[in-house]
Every structure is written in C-alpha cells, then in structure tokens.
C-alpha cells in the first residue's frame, strides 16, 4: 500500500513539474522577441532575401541586379536567397521574427506589416521613405499611395504594380458585334450575346476563391463608392447593408446564369487562364500579372494584339465610377528594421533605381518603380497596361484588402458556397461581418 501511494505521489509530482515547465515555457515566449532594444546598425554579412516559391520572377530579377547594376552593393554585401511557400508566409515570418532571425528583405502577410500588425506594432519593419532617402523618388507616386493604402505605412516595395480589370478577346467581341461594356447592365447584355453566339462569356478560377470575390468587391466599389471597404473597416457601414449584399447577389446571379461555364467552382488558375488564352472564354477578370501568360506565345493562342483590357463597368446609380481601377502592389516585401545599416540601404537604393527598367525590359513586368532609361520593344499588351497606369487618377483596393487574416480567408472560402447557392448573399455577408466584428 505504502509502495503504491509513494509511486503515485512520484507520478503526480512529475506531472506537476512538467505542467509548470510547460507553462513557464509559454510565459517565456513573451520575452525578447518584441524588445526593440537591439536596434539597427548591427548589419549581417549577407543581404538575405525571403521570397515566395510562387514568385520565381522576383528572385531572378534580384539576382540579375546583383550580377549587373548592383554588383558593387553585392560585393559589399552578397545577396542570399531564401524561399517559402506563399501560404506559409505568416507562420514562417512569425517564427523567424520571434527568433530575431528575420532576413534583410522579406515577404510578409498583409496584416502583419500594418501599424497594428504583429511586425508593425513591434517596430520590426522599416519605413522605405527613411531607408531610401532621395532614392524614394524612384517609386511612382501612384504605387506609393497604393502601398500606403493597403499597409497603412510605406513598408513594402512595389515590385509589381498591378491593375485589375476585365481582359477580353477582341476577335470574339468583333464577331459578336459588341463593344466594351461601360455599365454592369451592358456587361450582362454582352454576356447574353456571347452565350447566344456559343461562347462561354466569362472564365474564373473558382477553386482559388479570390477571383470570384474580386468581382463582388468591384461591384460594391462601383455601387457604394471608392471608400466602400474603408467604411467597413472604420465601422461606419456593415456588410449586411443592402448595397453591400447587392454585390454578393450580383456574383451569385452571374454564376447561376451559367456565364462561368461548367466546372468553374473547382477550376484552378492555370486552367482558367488557358480557357481565355485559347479562345474558349471571351472575358476574364484578372490582374495585369496575366501579362506574363499573354506575352508567352506558347500559352497565348489568340494573339497578343487581339487582347483588350477594360476596367470593371459602372453600376447604374452607384457612387463609384468606371475610371477607378483596382490596383495593388503585389505581396508585402518588407525590410528588417533591426538590422538596417548603410550597406543594406545602398542595396535598397540600387534596387529602387534599376528595378523598373530591368523588369520591364527583361520580363515585361510593370512595376511601381520609375523606368530610368529607354526600353525598346515593349510587347503590345504590356504597353497597353503601361499607358493605362499613366492615365489613372484614382484607384481602389480589392475586397479583402483591409480585412484581418481570418475574415480575408473566410471571404474567399465561403465564396464557393455563395456561387453554388448553398449560402444566400445575406448569410454570406452576415458570416463575414460577424468575423470582422469578432476581430475588432
């Protein structure tokens, strides 16, 4: 009996000790990581850059800079590439930051680098206006303003400056005898005409979720005005208000009318792009990143000169207008504030000065940097986007841009329930609003 109770006591003591150790470990997680006292000036030997696996172009472009115009900066501080899957960004960056091991230049989650985000609030990301100094003039004002709108501060470099709109097949439009729709009703009429002529009017990658919520978001921007989503963020409007629910209803109607064709809900991005570039579908809502596919003759069977790009049409009686293009500046590419120093600043200065020209010249990428110097032989579709960028006065963000991470994900995932009719527009918006409320 004594033996039994002794061993039981030992077991209990052991269990208690482990629990205390575990709890102490949790409490210990608080220390150090958010302490900004280590400060700048402690520059590492390498210019480490963390980019997404999905964006090989950025790594290639930065390496080309290191081998070319930024060779001097690279000699002083050699570039070293690190990669992560885009979906793992938050997890990876959180871990690296907690271990004081953030790279010099890194991809980050949208919400993380905002002033209220985990990195922003901890003072872990540098402001590029301070980092670049005079070289900041190499960033196009429109791109800088987009970055500030999305992240609330200048904490990302605009390696891409993407416009979003509707790409369309000019040949099919001519054949069916339709013009660029200026209003949403005209867009629906055009879709009807295309369907009657045997074409699939629109293609979308339903499996990805966001291509569908973009359409809904743009309807809302046109209906409510360019400050539609800011109103949701500051609480002066709710997604359950009828003018917002109308956006969800518009998307559901497009789907139930069959304009997206069969199997769109499980379609991935590549298949949807192929539907457009092989002439099966007449229109596709997408960003100007589609240029890399359009400029590839192996993918583009309809010819780059036969592709048009138009803004999302106006909604009759809405407060927004057709000239307010949706724009974004790619995923956040932040700079480590703690290890900032002269060599790193020189690297960023060189990137700002040379990236715009090199990316346009070698890959047809339209970035948010000035193009310093002449670039010959720009592909027609790229030129079209470039000219459009120069003409834009006002831009809007995308639907989920100002949401917290969970609500952003919910908007996208529930999109498939909305378009299948399993969720009503009212329920969709109510679920989203309650997630936004919970995060605030």
């Amino acid at each position: 009996m004594t033996n039994h109770s002794t061993s039981r006591r030992w077991a209990l003591t052991g269990f208690a000790a482990l629990t205390v150790a575990a709890l102490a470990g949790c409490a210990g997680g608080n220390g150090g990581s958010t302490d900004g006292s280590t400060g700048g000036g402690d520059e590492p030997e390498k210019f480490t850059v963390l980019t997404a696996n999905e964006n090989q172009a950025l790594e290639d472009q930065l390496q080309m800079l290191a081998d070319g115009p930024c060779a001097e900066e690279n000699a002083a501080m050699p570039i070293e590439h690190q990669k992560t899957a885009q979906a793992d960004t938050t997890q990876k960056v959180t871990l690296l930051a907690s271990q004081n091991a953030l790279p010099q230049h890194f991809i980050a989650g949208t919400d993380m680098v905002r002033p209220t985000g985990d990195l922003g609030a901890g003072g872990l990301v540098a402001d590029y206006q301070d980092v670049l100094g005079d070289a900041f003039s190499n960033i196009l004002p429109a791109a800088a303003s987009t970055v500030e709108n999305v992240y609330g501060q200048m904490v990302s470099l605009p390696y891409q400056y993407n416009l979003e709109g509707i790409w369309y097949n000019k040949t099919i439009f001519d054949e069916v005898g339709i013009e660029e729709p200026q209003t949403y009703d005209e867009l629906l009429a055009a879709a009807d005409a295309l369907e009657a002529a045997g074409y699939q009017p629109l293609t979308t990658a339903g499996a990805d979720g966001w291509p569908m919520t973009r359409i809904m978001g743009m309807y809302i921007f046109r209906n409510v005005g360019p400050d539609a989503m800011t109103k949701i963020k500051d609480g002066s409007a709710k997604l359950t208000d009828p003018e917002y629910v109308a956006g969800a209803a518009a998307l559901q109607d497009l789907a139930s009318a069959g304009y997206f064709g069969t199997g769109f809900q499980t379609m991935d991005g590549g298949t949807s792009t192929a539907q457009f570039l092989t002439g099966k579908a007449a229109m596709k809502y997408d960003g100007s990143w589609l240029l890399s596919n359009i400029n590839d003759p192996e993918q583009n069977e309809i010819g780059e000169e036969n592709i048009g790009f138009m803004p999302f049409p106006a909604v009759d009686g809405g407060a927004g207008n057709i000239n307010q293009w949706a724009a974004n500046a790619g995923a956040a590419m932040a700079a480590n504030a703690k290890t900032m120093g002269p060599k790193t600043e020189a690297w960023f200065g060189c990137i700002a000065e040379n990236y715009g020209k090199q990316a346009l010249e070698t890959a047809g990428i339209v970035s948010g940097f000035q193009v310093n110097g002449e670039v010959a032989d720009v592909a027609p579709a790229t030129k079209m986007v470039q000219e459009q960028v120069a003409d834009i006065d006002e831009t809007v963000l995308w639907f989920e841009a100002l949401f917290d991470a969970k609500s952003g994900s919910l908007a996208s995932t529930n999109g498939s329930l909305l378009v299948s009719g399993d969720m009503s527009p009212e329920d969709y918006m109510a679920a989203l609003q309650s997630s936004i409320d919970a995060a605030q």
């Binding site: 150790a21 949790c26 979906a87 990195l119 901890g122 499996a207 069969t262």
Partner: protein, 293 residues
C-alpha cells in the same frame, strides 16, 4: 528470460530511454499545448494569460462547433465503414479465398502505401468536370445524366472523402482483422460445423464473439485515426466548399498558423486530445464491463 525481466535494473535500462523519448516527444508537447491554451497571442505579440476564456470561446464559436461536428460525423461514418468492410474482406480471405488470398490481400492493401495527396489528386481527377472531365461524369453522361460537380457541394465532397479514405484504408483493416481471425482455433470452428452451424450462424455465434477483442482494437484504432483526419480533406477540397467539410484539425491548423492565434489553436488541440481520450476510455470501460459480466 524470466530472470532477466525479474531484475529491476534491466527493466530500468530497457525502459528509461524509450520512456524518456516518449515523454520528450509526446507528453511534453501535449502539456506545452495545454499550458498555451490558457494564453492568448503568438510568439511575436507575446502571450497574455486569459484563464479559461479560450475554452469558453470554443463553445460559442460557430466555426469551431461546425468543425467539431464534421470531425465526429466523419469519424463515426468512417469507423463504421472501415471496420465493416475490413471485416467482410477478412472473412472473405479466411473462408472463401483461404490460401489463395495473398494476392488479393496485397492488391487491396496497396492503396495504403500511396501518399494521401496523390490519392486526393487521383480522386479529384476521377470526378472532375469541364474541359478535363473525369470518368465518373463520363459514365453519368453515358446514361443520359448531366455532369455533377461533386466537389462544389458539401455532400459530394464528403462522399468522395469517405470513398477515398475507405479505398486507402480498408486493406489495412482487412489485414488487421484477418490476423485476428487466424487466431481462432480451427478445432472450435470445426466442432461448430459438426454441431450444424454454418454460414451466417457460424459467423454470428462463433467467429464474431471470438474475434471481438481485435474488432474492438480496430474500432479504437479507426476512430482515433479518423478523428484526426487532416490531409485527405485538405488535399481534396481544402475543407470546402467554404469551410463546410473542414474538420477540427484543419481549423486548428488555420487558427494557429494562418491566423497566428497560438493560444486558441492549442485550445482546439487540447479539446481534440480529450475527445480521443474520452472515446478510447469509454470503449475500454464498456468492453471490460462486458468481459466481467
């Protein structure tokens, strides 16, 4: 041998390294997670002690309760299906195919060794619609039906997930139960036959009671494995459409790693662990009671 195992020192030498590893790799993370479930935050923001708030949130969180429902539904259906089909296959091996069952056993077991993601891709393409339509819809079209986008609906996704998991795991349960059936002495079966028992009566009164222990192990095994379902539902349809087929494990993963809420994520993990423990203990208790009776 008994002398070796009667020596305390030998027992300690043999047991301590393994036990230490087990404690380090299993018990410590579980306790760590348990500790974290009383905090809110993440490694960057730091952690704030919130008491049992996370547990209270769980029981009012519609998404969490939905995920819990998906998990339990999947586990119950899968356990019933896996054990039943596995048992039927085992009976087939022992009583019909007999010594020639080795080939069929291998073929049925084979999907078990395939990676879940590869199997998910396979099933996705089997039920695909649109430009790359899969054979399932081709067959439906052949009989005059319209193509069905299975993965666009909750029931369709669940059905495919269940069939897919059953296809991969039934071979394993068949082999597990097969070994149990082999343990039943031939003499017992023989004498039952002489007494006139055959077919269903033999199975009902002799085989089933004698294979009860291994059946019980299979049920516990299957329920615990399917309660923790993650990769198949993630790879098949990302827990969709929407979050309608998202199990508790996927919700836990998203909460902890995508939304960086480590405290709440740990709470979900603790609840899942408790669920597994409660189930296992209940089955054990009820079975030992029955044995005592």
């Amino acid at each position: 041998m008994p002398r070796v195992f009667g020596d305390r020192k030998t027992i300690l030498i043999l047991l301590v390294p393994v036990l230490a590893l087990y404690v380090l790799l299993k018990i410590v993370p579980v306790l760590w997670s348990f500790g974290l479930s009383f905090f809110q935050g993440n490694l960057l923001r730091g952690f704030t002690f919130v008491g049992v708030d996370n547990f209270a949130t769980f029981f009012t969180d519609k998404d969490a309760l939905h995920a819990l429902g998906v998990t339990i539904l999947f586990a119950v259906i899968m356990t019933a299906a896996q054990v039943t089909v596995g048992y039927l296959l085992a009976l087939l091996y022992v009583f019909v195919l007999r010594k020639g069952s080795a080939f069929v056993r291998t073929v049925v077991f084979f999907p078990m060794v395939l990676p879940t993601v590869a199997v998910s891709m396979l099933f996705k393409s089997l039920v695909a619609v649109g430009d790359n339509q899969g054979p399932v819809n081709d067959i439906i079209n052949l009989f005059g039906g319209e193509s069905v986008e299975f993965l666009a609906t909750t029931w369709g996704t669940m059905l495919i997930a269940i069939l897919m998991t059953l296809w991969t795991s039934m071979g394993f349960y068949a082999v597990l139960l097969f070994t149990g059936l082999l343990d039943i002495p031939d003499e017992v079966i023989e004498s039952a036959r002489i007494d006139g028992a055959s077919g269903l009566r033999l199975v009902r009164h002799i085989i089933l009671p004698l294979s009860a222990p291994i059946l019980l192990s299979s049920v516990i095994f299957s329920f615990n494995a399917t309660l923790k379902v993650f990769d198949s539902l993630l790879a098949l349809n990302n827990g969709g459409p929407g979050t309608s087929t998202s199990p508790l494990t996927l919700y836990m993963y998203r909460t902890a790693f995508e939304y960086a809420e480590y405290g709440y994520g740990s709470t979900i993990a603790v609840i899942l662990t408790l669920l597994c423990m409660v189930f296992t203990l209940t089955v054990f208790r009820s079975s030992s009671k029955r044995t005592e009776d």
